[in-house]
């Protein structure tokens, strides 16, 4: 079958009858037999290291977990500098995580219950694959927007019963953070770890309101004179 990778068309052999096969295996095959310069990241081959995220027909996927079919188009992730072929620059990852204070700041001595642990069970499965960033329309127009994964990882600690320092964490995500998100849900659609990132951001908004923060967009644009806007804005 034929697939296109970074604008180059490749004809590859498939092993099964459905003319479908695993994308990462095919990338290895192409690198060995057709184009040895083809560059891509890979690691665990099982969906937990976050190395091999690419776009397939415009949608973010982990190559190792993706079955491809005739005519598929493979491209690097969006909105990051492409170093070569499918390899993007991930250098801003550290900055985002520092800015969002995505770590345990002050450990409390609270007894952690089964319920406490379950609250962050899925949220602590982020693999930093950058798929959510590539699918984010806000980041596409504002590179200062704190990455969806960084907001999620902030939430993972805000929600952690062990964390005794919530205020500074919430403070860290007010500007270019939770209020700038459009809640479009693209991040949820592409997250290979099936994490509800959008829900985490909504939760962070509620938590922020409890801690006295306001939505800055509401303050600047909301008409308080009659409380009714026939245009629905």
């Amino acid at each position: 079958m034929k697939i296109t990778i970074c604008n180059i068309s490749y004809t590859i052999k498939t092993k099964n009858n459905n003319n479908q096969s695993n994308l990462l295996s095919n990338l290895f095959q192409i690198k060995e037999k057709i184009n040895r310069t083809l560059s891509f990241r890979s690691g665990c081959k099982s969906g937990v290291c976050g190395s091999c995220a690419v776009r397939v027909n415009g949608v973010e996927k982990l190559a190792c977990k993706t079955t491809i079919k005739e005519g598929d188009i493979i491209e690097p992730l969006n909105y990051s500098i492409v170093i070569k072929d499918l390899i993007i620059d991930k250098k801003n990852q550290n900055d985002f995580l520092i800015k969002t204070k995505a770590y345990l700041e002050k450990k409390t001595n609270t007894l952690i219950t089964q319920e406490d642990e379950k609250k962050i069970d899925t949220e602590s499965n982020c693999i930093l694959c950058n798929s959510c960033l590539s699918a984010c329309p806000v980041y596409s127009i504002n590179e200062k927007f704190l990455a969806p994964y960084a907001l999620l990882r902030n939430f993972r600690y805000v929600e952690d019963a062990k964390e005794g320092e919530i205020q500074t964490k919430l403070e860290a995500i007010q500007t270019n953070g939770i209020w700038d998100c459009t809640l479009c849900g693209n991040c949820n659609m592409v997250c290979p770890s099936i994490i509800n990132i959008k829900g985490s951001i909504e939760n962070l908004r509620n938590k922020s309101a409890q801690f006295g923060y306001n939505n800055p967009n509401m303050n600047s644009g909301f008409d308080t004179s009659f409380g009714f806007n026939p245009n629905g804005f």
Binding site: S39, K45, K90, Q114, R153, D160
Partner: protein, 536 residues
């Protein structure tokens, strides 16, 4: 003048990041250099858990029992003192991880939950569903960010800078830019992981664990120990070799043959279970993991990752269907020889984790003991490297420009190689050869043939080379350098395996079936003496 780091850590897995966090307590400038991004390290694939005796009041378990089980699996090649240290500190290690934020699963009494694992007398494996390694690794990374640890991501180590038997730094290939650079440090910790990925296509490991640092360390005089001891995990998916954790059997899963009959106690040590499975496979039979009796709810609660992996990669629903499995290279017990303080035989050079031979696993490793080892000894290495660094004096980095130029020349030579033979294809061929000849069953004839093949490959290196002549992010260059070291390392493993004329733990010789007291000693490999056997 370039910065001289107090402590430089090579590798960003559980051992490396634990070392970095600990080193930062005693030193200002701590850096981690890694050929991948930190959270892509092999540790993220550890699913099942980490062993520790937490409660001796309400259970029958004891630290002594953990020590005894570990010693038993080590098959008389373990260092009892190192094992005792690791097991006695295990509870504290778990507490440390819990304190930095690792979300361990809880039991009904809100204590840290523990499950059964192979070779363990009691349920003492702590876990975070079946993403234990992933959650530990990410929490360690978050803590490193909090502690302002410097990261050099995607740098391949080319060589060490050593002066007067003291380590001074490393020469690296900045993969993204293609530049050859130097990083200087007073102390260096090697925490680069194991070498199971040399079994290309026959391993549960990441593509990254090619073990080149062991080969490079050996070149500068480090001793390699017990390199022949390689663990084959009993259960990986038939085609992709993706790991299906021991937790599947720990939670009550069965191994059945094609007639649906159980044929071995599933919780025996990994080497015994693997050989039993592979014997059937070699006879043309198939072997399956059967979890159907556990029910979907329990499977999803205790091993969600296995459930999803099985479905995504094979289309099998574990509550309804059997899952075909096969053994695959999983973990390497051998490594750089260190003393109980993680010190190598070179001054200010330390090693910890899977790349090191701390002798806590001996001839075979218990499931759940590897995560425990990397955190325990990662922390020891971090502290000791820092203390050594603090006693060292500033040196003149300009003395080492020759070393840099030499490495630049070597890389230039690689670009100029004839490239008649495709090393990518040979790497795959070698993976199969290694699995066949130095896999679960070994014998002199096959090992000798493999030795010749490896020497042939080495002689042919000049006919290999790279097609990609660019500098920026040249993955072929990186992989070619790795391949040259895979050959060196494989030779070391084969020579070590040939020398050990007995069967012990993970090393099984079809031509020497019995364990021989004569070999109740370590196999050491040095550049000067090649193979040497010494008492532990």
């Amino acid at each position: 003048m370039p910065c001289i780091y107090d402590v430089l850590i090579i590798g960003s897995g559980g051992a490396g990041l634990s070392a970095a966090i600990e080193a930062k307590k005693y030193s200002k400038n701590v850096a981690v250099v890694s050929k991948t991004y930190p959270t892509a390290s092999q540790t993220c694939q550890a699913q099942g858990g980490i062993n520790a005796v937490l409660d001796t009041q309400n259970t029958n378990d004891s630290i002594q029992s953990h020590i005894d089980d570990t010693i038993k699996a080590a098959n008389k090649l373990g260092d009892e003192k190192a094992i005792r240290f690791m097991c006695e500190n295990a509870k504290e290690t778990i507490q440390w991880l819990d304190d930095i934020g690792v979300p361990f699963s809880r039991n009904k009494n809100n204590g840290i939950a523990q499950r059964n694992f192979g070779g363990a007398s009691f349920a003492r494996t702590c876990y975070s569903s079946d993403y234990t390694g992933l959650k530990i690794l990410h929490t360690l990374y978050d803590t490193c960010i909090q502690n302002d640890i410097k990261f050099f991501n995607e740098y391949l180590i080319l060589s060490f800078i050593k002066d007067n038997e003291t380590i001074k730094g490393v020469i690296v290939l900045n993969i993204a830019s293609g530049k050859i650079e130097q990083i200087f440090a007073q102390s260096i910790i090697i925490a680069s992981g194991g070498y199971a990925a040399i079994f290309n296509q026959f391993t549960t490991n990441s593509t990254a664990t090619t073990g080149e640092i062991l080969s490079i360390a050996s070149e500068i005089g480090c001793t390699l120990e017990n390199m022949e001891f390689i663990q084959f995990h009993p259960t990986s998916l038939k085609h992709s070799k993706i790991l299906i954790s021991e937790s599947a059997r720990g939670e009550g899963g069965y191994l059945v043959d094609q007639d649906g009959k159980r044929f071995i106690d599933e919780l025996k040590p990994r080497d015994e279970v693997s050989r039993a499975i592979y014997t059937k496979i070699q006879n043309g039979e198939s072997v399956y993991l059967d979890l159907r009796h556990l029910g979907k709810e329990k499977i999803l609660e205790t091993m969600p990752q296995e459930y999803h992996l099985a479905y995504q990669f094979t289309g099998v629903s574990l509550e309804k269907d059997l899952l075909e499995v096969t053994p695959a290279a999983h973990y390497t017990m051998g490594g750089i020889k260190v003393n109980r303080e993680t010190q190598t035989n070179i001054k200010n050079l330390f090693a910890c984790g899977e790349c090191a031979s701390s002798l806590v696993h001996g001839a075979n490793r218990l499931g759940g003991n590897s995560l425990l080892e990397i955190i325990t000894f990662g922390k020891i290495a971090g502290k000791n490297a820092s203390l050594s660094a603090n006693q060292s004096t500033v040196f003149d980095t300009s003395l080492y420009t020759n070393e840099l130029e030499n490495e630049e020349k070597k890389i230039k030579n690689i670009y100029a190689l004839s490239n008649v033979l495709n090393f990518q294809t040979l790497k795959k061929t070698l993976g199969k050869l290694l699995f066949d000849s130095i896999g679960l069953f070994r014998e002199e004839k096959k090992l000798t043939m493999l030795l010749k093949t490896l020497q042939g490959y080495k002689n042919d290196l000049e006919k290999m080379g790279i097609t990609d002549k660019s500098k920026v992010y040249n993955t072929e260059l990186k992989e070619f350098i790795e391949f040259t070291h895979i050959l060196n390392l494989s030779l070391t493993i084969v020579k070590s395996a040939l020398h050990r004329k007995e069967s012990r733990g993970a090393h099984f010789r079809s031509d020497f079936l019995e364990t021989n007291i004569k070999y109740q000693i370590s196999t050491l490999f040095t550049q000067e003496n090649e193979i040497l056997m010494v008492k532990i």
